[in-house]
């Protein structure tokens, strides 16, 4: 079974997010981009399937800048091939439509049985890349999955619905599966193996196709979340906050 895993680089939330007032967009001066967490789960699920059924795993990403280490880390974990799509302006972020276009172009001739992608990414929580990619490639899509089983040429994906409802959905490969969580947390790979991969592995480059923006939502403005009515923000040092909190809990009869 040959699997492709697209990895999207998203802003690292350890840095404070600030909005550049002149552009109305995220200030990217000190922003560090890291692999989207659910894409790391998709990679883990792909590696588990490879261990069970053989085949290959390819990771693919837009070249947003410092992506090599993450790609070599994926190779050290067991991926067979790493591809980065070269093009301008990817670090500024691309729309889900453009991202799906770029991936579809790069993956269409790859003879992949499965494309496993994180169901959504933390930057926009859009959750549409997998579905758009599947549509562009003309293959089925199942999103929000927590289990992927390959049996007798078919794939059964377990999809999560709200309220704890699970559905088993059978698809004929090739298909795109959106991963909500891998069977187990993404594995750790020791630094020495990452270093080895940096020395021995190579990263293939693909030329980015012209990305379409058709249907993409336009961002007209961004602002930090505001405290809503009824929310009381408690400020001060830890002791003062704790005291206030205990007072409120007592007042409400909880303590």
């Amino acid at each position: 079974m040959n699997i492709a895993v697209p990895i999207k680089f998203v802003p690292d939330l350890v840095e404070e997010m600030e909005i550049d007032s002149s552009t109305g967009k995220l200030d990217r001066t000190f922003m560090r981009l890291v692999p989207n967490e659910l894409d790391e789960h998709a990679l883990e699920q792909a590696l588990i399937l490879k261990e069970r059924h053989g085949g290959t795993v390819a990771v693919i990403t837009l070249d947003t800048g410092d992506v090599d280490e993450a790609l070599f880390t994926a190779v050290a974990k067991g991926a067979d091939r790493a591809i980065k799509i070269a093009g301008e302006g990817y670090a500024e972020g691309v729309t889900s439509h453009a991202y799906a276009d770029l991936l579809a172009e790069a993956l269409k001739n790859g003879s992949y049985d499965l494309i496993l992608a994180g169901t959504q990414a933390v930057d926009d929580l859009d959750g549409s890349v997998g579905a758009l990619l599947a549509a562009k490639l003309g293959i089925p899509y199942v999103g929000y999955t927590v289990k992927v089983v390959a049996e007798g040429g078919k794939v059964v994906a377990t999809k999560e619905y709200p309220g704890g409802l699970l559905a088993e959905i059978e698809v004929n490969p090739p298909a795109v599966i959106g991963i909500q969580a891998a069977e187990k947390p993404p594995r750790y790979v020791v630094t020495s193996l990452v270093m080895d991969a940096m020395k021995k592995a190579k990263i293939d480059e693909a030329e980015g196709a012209a990305a379409g923006l058709e249907g993409a939502a336009e961002i007209t403005g961004m602002r930090p979340p505001e405290a809503g009515k009824g929310a009381e923000m408690i400020d001060g040092d830890a002791n003062a906050v704790a005291e206030k909190l205990v007072g409120i809990l007592k007042e409400k009869g909880i303590l």
Binding site: P185, Y188, V189, S192
Partner: protein, 398 residues
């Protein structure tokens, strides 16, 4: 390093992994190591059983268990071994290294490893915030990249002292003491990376080497006479492990540094403490690599006006680890699940039994760990946890 496939191959790897590693052949199977290990009772394979298994040609059963992650790299086993086998840095860290090669590591510890590789700190914070503790602070704390001036002391602050709210209080106290002593010092701020000691002992040698090379490159950029560390782990690794990679820098733990200035400190410390103080020997200053820095911290405490030093049953070479070493700092949930106990709580019971009103510490893992243990043992009214730096800073007049 390649993944080992046989017990014999593993024994050879242990023998070559550390100086005198070949002494593993001399194991008497006396069981002292397993007996003294704070978590030996909860391990499927405590040290002596690991060696017995390997000698019997069995590698897999031992590697199939995860009890090695109960090892807190406290050197208690190494300290009592009559055959002088370097159990902690040789055998036990090699078992951890094998587990890591198989990606078999509790997720709590995995997060710390990933954070250290990604951000240069175990707590997963932005490196840019590393010196935030010094912002809006009464003492001016020079960052070497900004001042570009030679200093006597390059103060290696460390992860927890930089980021952890409780330990930042210790860090500020240390800065106050440096100011009172008129020490010419500077810190690295955002350039500073985890020292790597715990990763070395947790079997992630590649990560240790990566961090060591980054820190060494930074140290080499600046002019200083010595490094002073807040953390015994940093002291231990700069003194004993960095030189093996070719990085040699004069280093002291801050307790040694303050002890060397004790006469001057005596004249500065006028505020009375009036309390019985027990001192907890951190593994990194004590048993690790026979550092045996036992008396200096005690003499500092005795120099504090009104402080009465009392001893706990386990002290100096027999001190009980706080549970934070060798990756234990990030394995609390795992250790609790496996062993149903916390060594930090034993220590609080011991300190209270010794009549101490203050448990004095000298390691940044210990303030938060013992603070928690004071609460969980319901001894908040009986005893407080203070770093020696806090006690000294409080005693200094003004």
């Amino acid at each position: 390093m390649i993944q080992v496939e046989s017990a014999d191959q593993f024994l050879k790897q242990v023998s070559g992994s550390v100086a005198e590693g070949e002494r593993i052949r001399l194991c008497l199977q006396c069981g002292s190591c397993s007996g003294v290990c704070p978590f030996g009772f909860a391990m499927e394979f405590p040290p002596q059983a690991i060696i017995a298994s390997l000698r019997a040609g069995e590698l897999k059963p031992m590697l199939d268990t995860d009890s090695i992650w109960l090892c807190v790299s406290c050197y208690a086993c190494t300290n009592v071994c009559p055959a002088k086998i370097p159990l902690t840095p040789g055998l036990l860290s090699s078992v951890k290294a094998e587990k890591l090669m198989k990606s078999s590591v509790p997720t709590e510890l995995q997060d710390a490893l990933v954070n250290a590789r990604k951000y240069g700190n175990t707590v997963g914070e932005s490196p840019r915030k590393r010196a935030d503790w010094a912002a809006d602070f009464t003492v001016e704390v020079p960052i070497l990249a900004k001042t570009k001036k030679p200093v006597d002391v390059l103060w290696y602050v460390g992860d927890y002292p930089s980021y952890h709210a409780r330990v930042q209080q210790v860090t500020r106290a240390t800065a106050k003491i440096f100011k009172a002593l008129g020490v010419s010092f500077g810190i690295l701020g955002p350039e500073e990376q985890s020292d790597g000691d715990v990763f070395h002992l947790a079997g992630e040698r590649g990560l240790f080497e990566l961090l060591a090379s980054k820190n060494a490159k930074t140290f080499e950029k600046y002019e200083f006479k010595e490094i002073v560390t807040t953390d015994p782990h940093a002291y231990n690794t700069f003194k004993h492990e960095y030189p093996k990679l070719g990085y040699r820098f004069p280093v002291r733990h801050y307790a040694q540094f303050l002890h060397a200035h004790l006469d001057r400190l005596r004249s500065l410390m006028k505020n009375k403490l009036e309390a019985r103080v027990a001192y907890h020997d951190p593994c990194g200053l004590g048993r690790a690599n026979d550092n045996h820095i036992y008396e200096e911290p005690r003499e500092i405490i005795e120099a504090i006006p009104g402080a009465e030093l009392v001893e706990m049953g386990h002290n100096r070479t027999t001190s009980i680890c706080c549970g934070g070493g060798g990756g234990g700092m990030w394995l609390d949930g795992f250790a609790w699940e496996k062993a149903g106990t916390r060594t930090s709580e034993w220590r609080i019971h011991e300190a209270v039994a010794a009549g101490a009103q203050i448990l004095a510490v000298a390691c940044p893992y210990e303030t938060p760990r013992f603070d928690d243990a004071v609460k969980s043992t319901n001894h908040a009214k009986d005893i407080a946890v203070k770093d020696i730096a806090e006690l000294v800073a409080d005693a200094i007049q003004g």
